[in-house]
Amino acid sequence: MTVERPDSPMTREEAQKRADRIRAFRDELRELETGGVAVLPEEVGARIRHHHDEVLESLAGRFDVDRSEAEKQLSLGMRIASFLGAVALSFAVFFFFYRFWGAIPTWAQVALLVSAPVLSVVGMEFAARREKTLYFSGIVGLVAIASFGLTLLMLGDLFNMGPSPDAFLAWGLFAGVLAYTCGMRLLLLVAIIAVTVFVSGRLGGWGGGYWGNFLERPESLFLPGALLLAIPATARHRSLPSFPELYRTTGLLAIFIPLLILASVGHLSWIDLPSGAVEIFYQLVGFAVGAVAVWVGVRSRWTETTVLGTAFLVVLLYVKFFEWWWDWMPKWLFFLILGAVAVGILLLLRRLQGAMRKVAA
């Protein structure tokens, strides 16, 4: 029998999932054997064990996957340590500039500011070629993004330029390129936030207001939210399977948070109607959008979409309950209603689950 090797293009996440499946299979098989439900013939069992050992060996060699729970916990620790290290190194870069800034001529300041992100990218690439887990390249990637943010900020200060949303576009695109280069979700998150600020700021500017006040019109987040949801729907991320989830999560948040605000504070809207009418409009839109999100999430098996949609519906409902009833209703009755609503949502979701099981069967 030939041993199946994971030679096909695979990411570390996919490799880790495969290793987890093998571990789960072994655990379950042990349970079955202990309970006397089924025992594999010695020869078959040995062949499977041997095959899995080879697969795990290969995956570990190529992707440095975690083969046990203890290894997984260590990896989590390393991820936390690398994040903290990146933050600390970014501060080091900032305070380095801060300390020696005034002592160097302008041309050298510019050269230093430009070379810091360039050198960080070179360092990231250097680290990426020498490790499989990308912990160190991730650290240097974050430092590169912080350095470039600092470059844009300090060039602005150095030459007395006013604040501009274009700086966020430049920063976001840079972070996006690095995120796709080393496959780090944290870098993609920075890119998403920066580009969202740019799009929302520009929208605010086109509406006549100063771009920096875009948060005073929460609707300016709807377009970036929709664009974020459109990215995973139109671009396949075969080699970066965790990115679509992040796009959907941030896209939904960019839509849900403004909806929550506008459903309670209508005068922040672009719509030139009485505040109460705007609030009712956004409450209706909120319930509709939340329901669609849950439906799409369940149908497409997007856990984050289902969870966020459900959470949004519950929060929207609770906020409205609070506004309607808190002042006059006895507290025990208020919380009783909240509890009853939670049970109602639970029953609704269970029915949905049951229907899905029937379809699957």
Binding site: F95, Y98, R99, F100, W101, G102, A103, I104, P105, T106, Q109, V110, L113, V114, P117, V118, V121, V122, M124, E125, A144, F148, T151, L152, L155, G156, D157, L158, F159, N160, M161, G162, P163, A170, L173, F174, V177, L178, Y180, T181, C182, G204, G205, G207, G208, G209, Y210, W211, G212, N213, E216, R217, H267, L268, S275
Partner: protein, 293 residues
């Protein structure tokens, strides 16, 4: 992406830096839009600098239509707001006028800052008249020890206005830079700078039940409110920063509250330096020289 990503990222850094520097060159090319010699009164040292920091930027001090209003800055009225693009058609008397105008987004405009001009002179005259009136009342109604103390309280701020407060006043605003420059031709006295303006409903404080009284605008901020001091021009300012720091550590108070602007402070005492500043085509300033006074 894995292969080309680092190259793309580096190229992007270089392109972004090049675009920025081209913008700077464009701003500084040709004749400056304004070329003004200001003093410490208008360009103050930062109130506090961390010892670890050795970069320096001078803060631009200005007076004008802020909140709350002062009588000499009422030029930013309803008509001016409309000319700046604000829709002021909603009646000010309407019960929801306050909410309507408060929710209006501020706008970016071009402000005209006048240096040591008519606005400043009027401001000083108004202070003098106010002080004279107050002094008359004190002479008429108080005993000698109280009189000296209260006279000091009145004359001190007036003297600071004459000798150490800023003479830079926002006197006009518009959207068309060329039009403003045609009207304010003296480039050594009128600075055009970008700033943020927002509408404001002023309530009539005299009435027990507050009612919307007037609609006017106020300048929220200058978009560039500090000017970086380039390397080679910091020696004098560094020595002043060091001496101020020593004085503060010794317990001296170098600043006083800015009249009419809660939470703001300004330095008391005559200016110690003058700074030549130019504003370029994109209305971005830069320091040309710093000299002692």
């Amino acid at each position: 992406m894995r292969r080309w990503g680092p190259i793309l990222a580096i190229a992007w850094v270089l392109v972004a830096a090049a675009i920025t520097l081209l913008g700077v060159a464009r701003n500084r090319a040709g004749e400056p839009d304004a070329d003004v010699v200001l003093t410490e009164r208008e360009l103050s040292l930062p109130g506090w600098i961390e010892e670890e920091s050795n970069g320096l930027a001078l803060h631009i001090n200005w007076r004008g239509p802020r909140y709350p209003a002062s009588p000499d800055t009422m030029w930013l009225d309803r008509a001016k707001l409309e000319s700046l693009g604000f829709d002021c058609s909603y009646p000010v008397e309407a019960p929801s006028a306050l909410e309507h105008y408060e929710r209006m987004l501020p706008r970016e405009v071009v402000l005209v800052l006048e240096y040591e001009g008519e606005a400043w002179r009027k401001w000083i005259v108004a202070w003098e008249q106010q002080s004279e009136g107050a002094e008359r009342k004190i002479h008429e109604s108080t005993d000698a020890p109280t009189r000296d103390r209260r006279l000091g309280e009145i004359r001190g701020p007036l003297e600071r206005e004459r000798t150490s407060a800023t003479r830079l006043f926002v006197v006009d605003a518009g959207l068309d830079l060329a039009d403003l420059r045609r009207r304010y031709t003296d480039r050594s006295r009128y600075i055009l700078a970008r700033g943020i303006v927002a509408p404001l409903i002023e309530l009539d404080a005299d009435k027990k039940i507050a009612k919307p009284a007037t609609l006017r605008g106020h300048v929220r901020m200058l978009l560039v409110d500090a000017v970086h001091v380039p390397h080679g021009k910091t020696a004098l300012l560094d020595s002043l920063v060091a001496s101020d720091r020593r004085a503060r550590q010794a317990g001296a108070s170098l600043t006083v509250a800015t009249p009419g602007q809660p939470g703001m402070e300004e330095r008391s005492g005559p200016p110690r330096y003058k700074v030549r500043v130019r504003w370029g085509r994109r209305l971005e300033p830069w320091i040309v020289g710093v000299e002692p006074m």
